[in-house]
Symmetry: C3
Subunit: 316 residues, 3 copies
């Protein structure tokens, strides 16, 4: 297995089973620090640079929280408008990287353009972590998700993942790549205009994961061990509610996980959602035995602790 | 007295005399750290989460400065637009809390809606500090104010507080609640449309503090030991100067603390103002013996050091 | 030489040769910390306050990175709109300083008004560093630049600086002041409407630096040891690209440093640019032996480490 020290985390395409296992083992080792709520000194001599070209709460703050739990330092930007990088000049990724690489020891980047973190990694002398790139990938989210599954259900192998929502989303791509490395099934339910591309399905199938597609959640809910939910946003994804005149699109019933629907679910079936949510996951589901998205938020910190400790060379 | 460890600081309604005294004693103990300008390690293993849904300079930075003085870590957001919490999704307080609670060990929240920090505290597994909630309360500000009074005048008991300005402001509510626990007088001067509600006065009167109301500052200035000033903003409180066409409302003379007016004040009378100010407190007052609002800013850090150390369990 | 402990860094006007030499020596001493990428504890008990009234990436983050490399704490604002200081109230510098001075142990301020950091220093009990004030000065940038020259070429004495671009820029003012303390030549090339003022030239000439002005870069390129480039922005400097309808002004050929032009440069001639750049410095120049602006970014952290350690009294 390649060493993680100095390595970029850009995609789960090519991330191998032994690597998942290793990252999960390191997370297991660091988890008690988060549980005990006591920051330690493991990364006290390191600085993380956050470069967020798009708004983010969970991904940005989970990386920051992980860094602080390990005693480290954080700087960067949460909004490119606050920087020269986002203004008038519209600096190239290369120019931005040849500044940020001197300000810290690893960088997490979210960008509206697919591939931007890869471009950054091309120029950076420090590890680059993809915090979500457009419709591309979101590797640290899906590492979090699978780690949550392993913690909650004991293993990823043998499970059926029912993915619901917009299949063009970056999490769905990362999930597909990840599941090729496990003995798992993946069933997808999406509106036709938001379905998986043939190209992506072919790429995944080459690695012996056939993604099954069904039309209705109700047809597959009984088989699911993990119910993996993403919003189905009919309107412009990036427009603010205000810009859209106060309207929030209502998710079609077929893509909503209701308490009624969950009556058909396996008792241990767990729901994951990277949040924030719209109405695809009504709040009354929070009280069911299936909800695991708060745990997912917690493990989001633990997973970033593991990844940051690994790429900065503080853990083997 | 209830322990402060793990406790929320949401309101001064019900905050008891012994608790004020204890918080002031802890502040006295920590104050030399701020005075010597040397950060220590008391909270080095803790992280504070800042959740500011409204702009703030003093409240946010005083909490951050306090945390840094005690060697701690800080993360969060100063502007909800920089997060997913404030965009399109308009996440519920519950959803936001079930993320932020994993990112640190206490949370300070400012919100435009009265009661939002209380709602947060309902869900959070970590202490929540109210950094100002709409027209509600601002407990840490008034704790700062009374601590400043105690430091500057030796005690709160026996003093007459002359409160001037908009009585609907959150600081005025917290001040009223606080003074019920001391042997103090409170006199209020406000424009009629900004006066105390009968409900609030009755609630305070039940605890044996009768708030006296007079029409003119000049009628009461000679009796005041503490002159407690808030702006009287005639126009929309939240509109920026730009949005209002460059206009800044001029405070009516009756609510302005001028040098001329102060000729009638007791020699030791001290002026507090949570700042920022408009023209209710002209800059030439800064040079009088009465000005204590810079000291108030300093003690704002000291008080937050005490509160953070207490709720995070680092001080008994 | 005056001690640096507690001192403001507002201007290079009056900054003496021995002071440059001392700052460079301290930077040499601290540079291995940055090179080894390991934060130390030198400023662990100190907090830096950042007060940026204008967007900045490099200046703000280089100061923050320096502080973190030395184990210190950072707080402040990167955007005045996120604070009360920038809203409706438009607080005076005095009021803002009499708050920020209690939040940390040194302050770096960028402001759109020339002289604002000087005004801040008048009121502050802590050292104030000018992070760029309108058309005024940018002392830490030019200290970085000259330090980069010394590291790359061994010394500043004996060199010819060819300054190209808008001579009204704050870096140009700081550069002029600085070079009076060295045995150096300065040649300026600028559009007529952006040339040095007679007043500034006279002030510099009094200290025995005569700034030579030529019309064409091509006429002077062969003499240059240091090619010091700033953008020539024909349009409104502060308007965003969007506000300007997507248009970015094209720099006239006379102020562009092209590979072709560099064929006439001395082999060791080095290009500095504080970045971000527009088209005055085409990306294909990055691959020439002359480019040193990435090193400049690196030394930007080292120089701020030296300045912060000095003004906070951690280095003699």
């Amino acid at each position: 297995m390649r060493s993680f020290a100095g390595r970029d985390i850009l995609s789960l395409d090519g991330f191998e089973r032994a690597e998942f296992e290793h990252v999960f083992a390191v997370a297991d080792e660091l988890e008690p620090i988060a549980r005990r709520r006591r920051n330690v000194d493991l990364l006290a001599d390191k600085t993380l640079v956050t470069a967020f070209y798009q708004p983010s709460t969970r991904t940005r703050l989970a990386h920051e929280a992980a860094m602080h739990r390990l005693g480290g330092h954080v700087l960067g930007f949460a909004d490119p408008k606050m920087t020269r990088a986002g203004d008038f000049y519209q600096e190239s990724i290369k120019d931005v990287v040849h500044m940020l690489e001197y300000y810290g020891d690893a960088m997490v980047m979210r960008h509206f353009q697919q591939g931007a973190p890869h471009e950054a990694a091309r120029w950076a002398s420090i590890p680059v972590i993809n915090g979500g790139d457009g419709w591309g990938e979101h590797p640290t989210q899906v590492l979090t998700d699978l780690y949550t599954v392993q913690r909650e259900l004991g293993a990823v192998d043998g499970l059926t993942f029912l993915a619901i929502g917009d299949m063009r989303m970056r999490t769905m791509h990362s999930l597909g790549h990840a599941l090729t490395q496990f003995d798992a099934r993946m069933i997808a339910v999406a509106p036709p205009e938001m379905s998986l591309t043939d190209e992506f399905k072919a790429q995944i199938a080459e690695r012996n994961l056939t993604i099954e597609e069904v039309d209705h959640v109700a047809d597959a809910i009984a088989e699911a061990d993990v119910i993996y939910v993403e919003p189905v946003v009919q309107a412009d994804y990036t427009a603010s509610r205000e810009e859209r005149g106060g309207e929030v699109s209502t998710t079609a019933d077929n893509y909503r996980i209701t308490r009624e629907l969950l009556l058909d679910a396996k008792p241990h079936a767990m729901i994951l959602h990277s949040l924030p949510r719209m109405d695809e996951l009504p709040p009354d589901v929070d009280a069911t035995r299936h909800a695991r998205y708060w745990q997912e938020a917690y493990y989001g910190v633990v997973m970033r602790m593991a990844l940051l400790a690994l790429v900065m060379g503080a853990m083997e």
